[in-house]
Symmetry: C2
Subunit: 400 residues, 2 copies
């Protein structure tokens, strides 16, 4: 069996943790498996390198930043190879250039184009554990690139696909995917299985332990992921195309308080006004999420929508600067909102589920301000102070 195992920065944060990961990988190796390990940079190393760079240049070029950051994973993998060697198991570390992890040239946010597997296969045939730098790649001109947030997960999935691995294990500081954040919903339970699509919705809503891009890549190549803890031997959660159980059920509840609401009030009821508003925001690269259009007073319209909290000020300023005053009466903005979602492939054919959610929130005295849905998700905007209460009410309603 060929297994790809990915460990994050916390799991390799110091000597003891490195030895712990080494032992864990060696257990698998001694069962006769081929083991490929993907590592992130140690602990806070990436943050420290960024700080060092900004001290010298507050606005460093992305090309040079990637050149600097790739030293982080290279440090992790070489130390890990030494750790395994000290435990008597042959290991070799490879960085993006040695693996030939080819990416696009978009520094700090590159995409993997192609992986040459010759070197890795060759080392595996010599019965070595192969330790690969996550997060990094090289472009066609031999420049280093990095893959952006969650990049090491993406590296692991891409390697698993290229090597036709039998398993891709993502080790993290939680022991799987839960029906809700256990810090907010005490009744939250670990899921044994979840579909790629459900996982994607969870990730988008800030509740996922995996980054979207890695899940998309896993879905595209049919790589079954296992999310599990590097600290325990618990089974973890399998992320795959379809799951057998709980067909009519909800897989999880997510809460996201990184949301802000903007309402443009008293808009003239002429065609194209919505386009004008969202065009202004698009030009400023502001991502708009939930949108609600309603009839206001005096036959005028109100348009409300949500943005991420950190984009609120830019969005409001853009609207005030570029939207003629005569187009609207008032702009209202608030950060005191949060999104609560239920996710599950069971939603697809069961329209009654959304109604049950709204009813549960009503009974819990939670006011719903906006609603948006996808095929496998229902999201409501609530007051921020009601978020946890709403999550628990929904979680209880669907007996997760």
């Amino acid at each position: 069996m060929l297994v790809v195992k990915k460990f994050g920065g916390t799991s390799v944060g110091n000597k003891d943790r490195i030895m712990n990961v080494a032992k864990r990988c060696i257990e698998d190796y001694k069962k006769g498996n081929d083991v490929v390990v993907v590592l992130s940079a140690m602990g806070k190393m990436t943050d420290e390198l960024i700080a060092k760079a900004k001290e010298i240049n507050p606005n460093p070029s992305r090309r040079e930043m990637d050149m600097l950051l790739t030293t982080g994973e290279q440090t992790s993998v070489s130390l890990m190879a030494m750790a395994m060697d000290s435990l008597g198991v042959p290991a070799v570390s490879l960085n993006a250039f040695q693996v030939a992890m080819h990416t696009t040239s978009v520094y700090s946010n590159a995409r993997i184009k192609r992986i040459d597997t010759d070197r890795i296969m060759n080392e595996l045939e010599q019965r070595k554990i192969v330790i690969v730098t996550g997060f990094q790649g090289v472009d066609q001109f031999d420049n280093y690139t990095t893959l952006g947030r969650g990049g090491s997960d993406t590296t692991a999935v891409a390697l698993a696909a290229a090597l036709h691995a039998d398993a891709c294990e993502i080790y993290t500081d939680v022991d799987g995917v839960y029906t809700a954040d256990p810090r907010k919903v005490s009744e939250a339970k670990k899921l044994n299985e979840i579909t790629y699509d459900e996982m994607l919705e969870m990730a988008t809503l800030g509740a996922g332990v995996l980054h979207n891009r890695s899940v998309e890549l896993a879905k595209k190549h049919g790589v079954a992921l296992v999310v599990r803890s590097s600290l325990t031997t618990e089974e973890g959660t399998v992320v795959k195309e379809s799951v057998k159980s709980r067909d009519n059920e909800i897989s999880g509840v997510a809460g996201d308080d990184d949301a802000a609401r903007i309402a443009v009030m008293g808009i003239e009821d002429t065609p194209g006004m919505a386009f004008k508003i969202f065009n202004v925001l698009a030009k400023k690269n502001v991502n708009v999420d939930m949108i609600l259009q309603s009839v206001g007073h005096n036959d005028k319209k109100d348009i409300s929508f949500t943005v991420k909290e950190e984009e609120l000020d830019i969005a409001v300023k853009a609207l005030e600067d570029y939207l003629p005053d005569s187009y609207y009466e008032e702009i209202k903005a608030s950060k005191e909102v949060a999104k609560v979602s239920i996710i599950g492939k069971g939603l697809l054919n069961h329209y009654g589920m959304a109604a049950r959610m709204f009813n549960a929130l009503y009974k819990a005295d939670v006011n719903i301000r906006m609603i948006s849905t996808s095929e496998i998700r229902v999201t409501v905007l609530v007051n921020q102070e009601d978020m946890v209460k709403a999550m628990n009410a929904a979680h209880e309603e669907f007996e997760m």
Copy 2:
């Protein structure tokens, strides 16, 4: 003009020093020159990485150690590129893989085989300052290698040769090559010029600011080196094939207290005894330096020789273990000795110089225990406590 400038770890040890080096290189660039900069790892970074490795594995593989250490220079070069960029000058950092610095596979002590200059020339044509990692290379299987002690100097010289550079400047913490160590000989003077061969003898004797391999490479390719300070704008010392002035003179006096003396006393006067002694030492990789054979008492011989201090114990133990007791009467060992040398191409045709040195030491009441010579060097072994006195006496004698 194309200039290669090499700066050591101290010169890039913190933000201010990095900015200082950046400014210095930019001055040259603004004169219209093509500038290639070679950097070592920052300050103590290499030592810190080695300590980190040894914590995990007291005896790490050299392949993985090189993989780890190469992150040091990569950190320096990317930060330097950011520094130059912040000063408004386009710069690009390149590591050994990006330059295509091909070396042998001897980890921790590789030799440069070939440098592809395409990438560097291409970047220079775009009027960028090119910043290259010193000390490191890649072998034919894409593994990282390092060049051993003084490796960054070697990188700079090899690049200067490959690029047909007009100058190769080695910046260091002293402002040139001196006639003697100024900490020991207060009358020591900076040399304007010195030949490769003289520099090699100085380096071998521990007095050189350049490592032997870089000087050998410069000699082989006829690269004129300039040794100068990164802290001042002093002219420095030029190292080249031949120098015009001081043809009959001595270029320098060197003292080396990293020497130990072993005397094997009372050896049977049968053929092959010297071979047996040095064969035992060769098998233990002990380097023998000065050798003196003398007639002892009772028609027996004494053989004395010097080794480096750290090899003394190994050498004595090897002799005791492998040399039959009947071959000799006694082995004496002492670390209380030092070598004092005069170096100069003037020695080549002027035999009287050695006699003048011996006379000067005699007048200074320094006892000479052994003598060895090369074409451009005379070395004497003295008691360690006499080393500085002997250096000063020789320095004064030749009016340096």
